[in-house]
Amino acid sequence: MMAWFAENSLLLGLALLDGLAYAALVFMVAVGLNLVFGVLRIVNVAHGSLFAIGAYTAASLGLFFASRGLPPWAGYAALILAACLVGAVLGPLIERLVLRRIYGQEEVLQLLVTFALFMILEDVQKLVWGVQPISQDLPMKVLGTVDVPFGEDVIPFTIYQLFVLPGVAVAVLAGLAWFLRRTLTGRVIVAVTTDKEAAMAMGIDAAKVTLLTFTFGAGLAALGGALASPTTSLVPGIGAQTIVLSFAVVATAGLGQIEGAALTSLLIGLGRSVAVYFAPEFEVVVPYIIMVAVLLVRPQGLFGVLETRRV
């Protein structure tokens, strides 16, 4: 066992660093999904489409900025701008026009409404950006690489994946924890999540909180997409891939857990990248195997709390 680790320490190290960047992206999408579920009690299947549209918008804006001769650093402005734009436009649009009509309806119907939104957004995305791969990796290139020593070997890693992605994820996690626990708006969101009726009886405008939370969650999905866009070429179907993965994270973590979602993203991100290096054919399967294994032992998820059964 120890000998195996010693032999494969290079690959394991690579997998660890890769997994970190990947986990950071997964976390941003999953935590938005989780937040939205907490307040709306709806599992938003279209969350993955917001990720994809965020990615495409960021790439388009980045290419536009570059074509205008703006400095390469403007690519970062494009990422942030894309996330805000997608969140602020699509979030309220979806919540106000569609979701608002189905609160309190059956879970099945709610799930299906978001599935319908997913189908619509997938085609909107294809109509706007086409089906040819788009890539815009300037934000990643401009930072260059750093040489990571592995024993005698030296492996160049992009600074973007090594520092920027995990850094943003940690900032999002810390910011979110602070926002939800220390600010009035955040506490109001938590209150609505815990007990909507009691919160409303206290005079909290639940409709406003819902709108705010959904917009915020949509923005997080779009931010995940925007940050992912420099690292990969964008093709139709990335939304569908992303959403199932973040379902796996949310279900494994247990619903309504922020730190739990972060740890689970790490677990699943690392698990996947270890698979990429050691058993590539099982790369896609690993997150689901982790999820099934966890739910076998803890049906409420790693960090979930058991709900008491109603009689």
Partner: protein
Amino acid sequence: MSGSANSLSRPAGAAPARSLGEGLPALLGIAALVLVAWAVPWLKFVLTIALAKGIAVLGILLLLRAGQVSFGHAMFLATGAYTVAFVAPFQTEALLLLPLAALLATLLGLAVGLFVVRYRDIFFGMLNLALSMVLYSLLEKLYEYTKGTDGIRVSVLTFAGLRPERETQEWLMFGLALLLAVLFGLLVRAYLASPMGRALAGIKTRETRLEFMGVSARRVLLFAYVLSALMGGTAGALVAMTSRHVTPQLAYWTSSGELVFIAILGGAGSALGPFLGAAAFELVRVYAAAAVADAWQMILGAVLLLVILFAPGGIWGMLAGRLRRSA
């Protein structure tokens, strides 16, 4: 639940559709299907696929009665389809392949069912999704056996030892799908009216009460789950034999979503709903894809939204309501 005239929240026995009788609409539907298949030959293929999917959706309907939604039932459909594709080179007899495919899907349903019936709601849905994605990934990645995303071409089949002409074969597949659809429809109707079927609605309203009565909710749900896997496998075998080509896409989560979509579109209040829904779904897909190649998904999505927002009883709910008013 608010009084949104929602067919899902109605207890099984109180469905107004039942008191009206489903026999006449069913017979009319069969006649219409045969007529359309005869008058517009190329639609025969579309309708055969629709009937097959309708059978799979019957299984979704059972789980919906228990308030559970599976976002992974395409795995049983894919199991049935790939069984046909794998075995066809060695055994070309369609009438043997079909039960074999159904059997394997049923066994998988039992294995998966024993695990997933312990969970409810979101966890039930997501576990089904996860397991179907495992199957999808295996079908996609084990290229040596499955040819990956290219899929497998199903070799030419024989029916009762005969190798009929293409036209005859299409009619045979259509007839087979129709026959199985009727049989499974009747089976589901009888099952839902039985105590086991009635208990499903108990899982949805208050499971604990069911257990106080000494009924094992897990067993009730497991029975429905295995039955739904059987129908999924049968549907998959029919799809593989009709389209003669299987791809991992059959197991992707969006295919599972489509099945739930069809269930809601047709209306979950009656065993006729899945077939109405499947026919409408496949026809809209075919015509929308022909009219606007890149936006057919958008059109289907919009139809789904409109149905849920404005006609939550589905097509069957609308028809039944119309019939009731005119009666």
